[in-house]
């Protein structure tokens, strides 16, 4: 019986979730005056829309990993949503390709204000050893901030789930840098 096996496995596994990391405010690249009321609300929960704007899919592996039981992001109030209309934060990976530029801008526009943008990975941030590996060429626009405004940059190739979570929390944290 599957139910019996599932329950047995759940009890044997126990809880593997770890305490949440602190927001890493040093990742903020843009400071904005925000209404205290709004921050109070967002301090509790944030809904995210991901856009792969041309990544090698390495960053996506870590976004997926963030959904695993070690990180317990829904317990922190962090949730990934399907529609840009339903979110507060846009998470963008990859050097932005020209073939996806329009779709990225439209997604950004579709998110209601106030909104935050987190650029993820060396390609998306245009930094580190890998930041200029793809560079800008006939097919690529380079880093995300060249195309839409960015609040937080999380470098790494790819950044670990923990680093990504620190960046996401930094975007919506009410604390000043």
């Amino acid at each position: 019986m599957a139910t019996h096996l599932i329950l047995q496995k759940i009890f044997k596994t126990g809880i593997v979730s770890e305490p949440a990391p602190e927001a890493d405010l040093s990742l903020r690249v843009r400071e904005r005056e925000l209404h205290a009321e709004i921050l109070k609300v967002f301090g509790q929960a944030v809904s995210i829309r991901c856009v792969d704007a041309g990544s090698c899919n390495g960053c996506e592996l870590e976004i997926h990993a963030l959904g695993g039981p070690h990180y317990n992001i829904e317990g922190l109030g962090v949730k990934f949503a399907a529609s840009p209309r339903h979110v507060d934060l846009l998470l963008v990976t990859g050097p932005v390709t020209r073939n996806l530029e329009v779709a990225l801008k439209r997604t950004y526009d579709a998110i209601p204000e106030p909104k935050w943008v987190v650029a993820m990975g060396d390609c998306g941030c245009g930094c580190g050893q890998i930041g200029d590996l793809f560079g800008e060429n006939y097919a690529t626009r380079g880093k995300v901030s060249g195309v839409i405004p960015v609040d937080v940059e999380v470098p790494g190739c790819p950044p670990t789930p923990e680093a990504l979570l620190r960046g996401i929390l930094a975007a919506v944290s009410g604390k000043a840098r």
Binding site: A2, V51, S55, G58, E62, A65, R98, N99
Partner: protein, 517 residues
């Protein structure tokens, strides 16, 4: 060596030090008869790409990699510099269709007689009369901002609806467009439009030094990093006739199998998730996370990025690490066994997996379905088993196959491959030879070429490299198995209901970045 393929007699020259890879020049006009002979013999077309060789006092060239009973045959056909064209091969091997269209988009090399001449990788970013991979391409020419205006094939009739999906999808996956034509909930037709992550990767390789090239090759598709990096390094080492220390070769295989385990664990979790079994997702992703964390502790990177380098590997494994890795491999094998028992017993999951997204063996053979999806449709090819290069020639890999070609079969093949990879990992750890992990490459003084072929977790990964006389990269083509497998997603979903599409798509788990380049 003399080889006979159908009624064609060939003298094949093995690629120096390149295992079961054979290379020869073939007049373009003879390509179709040669392809037919390969087809009759039961072989496949793996990859097709072009090159601009005018700076080498030739014209253009079209290259084809065929899979045959003797191994991989790499043909090169020189083409006219003014009007580069070769006869259509998609009428013999349908999987050539998109590769031919991409070759035209990037190089202006035409497949004469091809039925489908629509653009493939080009959207609106560069004009139709500009070809980025030509050496005289003017990169400073302003990009066009035309909308894509891709001519989809319309299905019309009473009650037919269209559902356009993407390029940005509901989940965290790569971008691509899917155009469904449906009646009620049944899929009548699916047409894919890819190319959204086209980064100009192949252009980017031009002029890079060999070490930077390895980093870029590994990022053609991040989830297959080790496979690409290894294939690239094999190509470079073959081209430069450089030897690699035995310990490095074994460590490369260790990395490749670790990558396979990580990806299969993740996919098995997502397959559970896609049938609303969150338990499956959480359990498999717990195991994957444990695996990635140990990988990071032993090798400094969760996905082993940049650990395979030209001439060897970048990092060694200490004896203490061996024991830790073997212990985790044991635990994961036990736990995956427990989870498989749940998947086997779970009526809801079995109901969704079985008979969903079927690709029958004859269709798979006709279309060239490859890799793990191919093996789940009885296409018994695995380069590690049939044409093993070191160290697989000493490892005796057991190939996993299934016949039904449905989501369940693709899950079963993954379960079997996780088990086999864990066995290989333990075997490699036990027999890892001592010695150096990296040797300098032999110096380059003339133009040289090589091809690397690696069985990645998704399927055959090929990297072809030409190094210029200055020792820098002149042309690199990287081939992802997703090229030939994407069209089978279009066919595998027919007659299924729309809500099963994510499950079917995930069961293939193809790369966008790998085929968009």
């Amino acid at each position: 060596m003399e080889a006979h393929l159908g009624d064609i007699e060939l003298t094949l020259t093995p690629q120096e030090g390149g295992g079961a890879i054979w290379r020869f020049a073939l007049e373009a006009q003879r390509l179709p008869s040669f392809a037919r002979a390969i087809r009759e013999e039961g072989g496949q077309l793996l990859a097709l790409w072009g090159s601009d060789d005018r700076h080498l006092e030739r014209g253009f060239a079209v290259h084809v990699a065929f899979l045959s009973s003797v191994g991989l045959i790499w043909t090169t056909s020189d083409l006219d510099p003014e009007r580069p064209a070769y006869p259509d091969l998609a009428c013999i091997f349908p999987q050539a269709d998109r590769m031919q269209r991409a070759t035209f988009d990037l190089l202006g090399i035409r497949a004469d007689g091809a039925v489908d001449e629509r653009k493939w990788l080009r959207h609106g970013a560069w004009p139709a009369d500009a070809f980025p991979l030509r050496k005289d391409f003017d990169a400073s020419r302003p990009a066009s901002h035309d909308t894509d205006a891709y001519p989809f094939i319309r299905v019309e009739g009473d009650g037919v609806h269209e559902i356009p999906v993407g390029p940005i999808h509901a989940g965290t996956i790569e971008p691509g467009h899917f155009r469904f034509s449906i009646i009620g909930d049944r899929i009548l037709k699916l047409e894919e439009r890819l190319g959204y992550t086209h980064k100009g990767t192949e252009k980017r390789f031009e002029g890079l030094d060999l070490d930077t090239g390895a980093r870029l090759a590994g990022r053609v598709s991040g989830d297959s990093h080790s496979a690409y990096a290894w294939a690239y390094c094999l190509a470079v080492e073959t081209a430069t006739a450089s030897a690699v220390p035995a310990r490095a070769v074994w460590l490369r295989a260790l990395f490749l199998e670790m990558e396979r385990v990580a990806n299969h664990l993740g996919d098995l979790g997502y397959l559970g998730n896609d049938v609303a079994l969150a338990f499956g997702f959480m359990q498999f992703w717990r195991l994957k996370e444990d695996w990635l964390r140990l990988t990071a502790r032993l090798f400094g990177h969760r996905y082993l990025f940049d650990r395979i380098v030209p001439g060897g590997v970048a990092l060694d494994l200490a004896d203490a690490g061996k024991a830790e890795l073997a212990a985790l491999a044991d635990r994961i094998e036990t736990e995956v066994g427990e989870l498989k028992a749940v998947y086997d017993e779970h009526a809801g999951l079995q109901d969704r997996f079985a008979n969903t997204g079927i690709v029958k063996p004859d269709l798979a053979a006709r279309m060239g379905l490859t890799g793990l999806a191919g093996r789940a449709s009885a296409q018994a090819w695995d380069a590690r088993a049939q044409f093993p290069q070191a160290p697989y020639d000493e490892l005796d890999v057991n190939m996993a196959t299934a016949r039904k070609g449905d989501v369940l079969a693709r899950a079963e093949v993954r379960f079997a491959e996780v088990k086999e990879s864990l066995r290989l990992i333990r075997e490699i750890l036990r027999r890892l030879p001592a010695g150096d992990i990296r040797a300098p490459l032999a110096p380059v003084s003339r133009v040289c070429e090589g091809l690397g072929w690696v069985e990645g977790w998704r399927g055959d990964i090929l990297v072809a490299v030409r190094i210029g006389a200055d020792g820098r990269l002149d042309r690199v083509h990287a081939h992802d198995p997703s090229w030939q497998n994407w069209p089978l997603v279009e066919l595998g979903v027919l007659g299924n209901i729309v809500p099963d599409f994510p499950l079917i798509n995930k069961s293939f788990n193809l790369s966008y970045s790998g085929q968009d380049l």
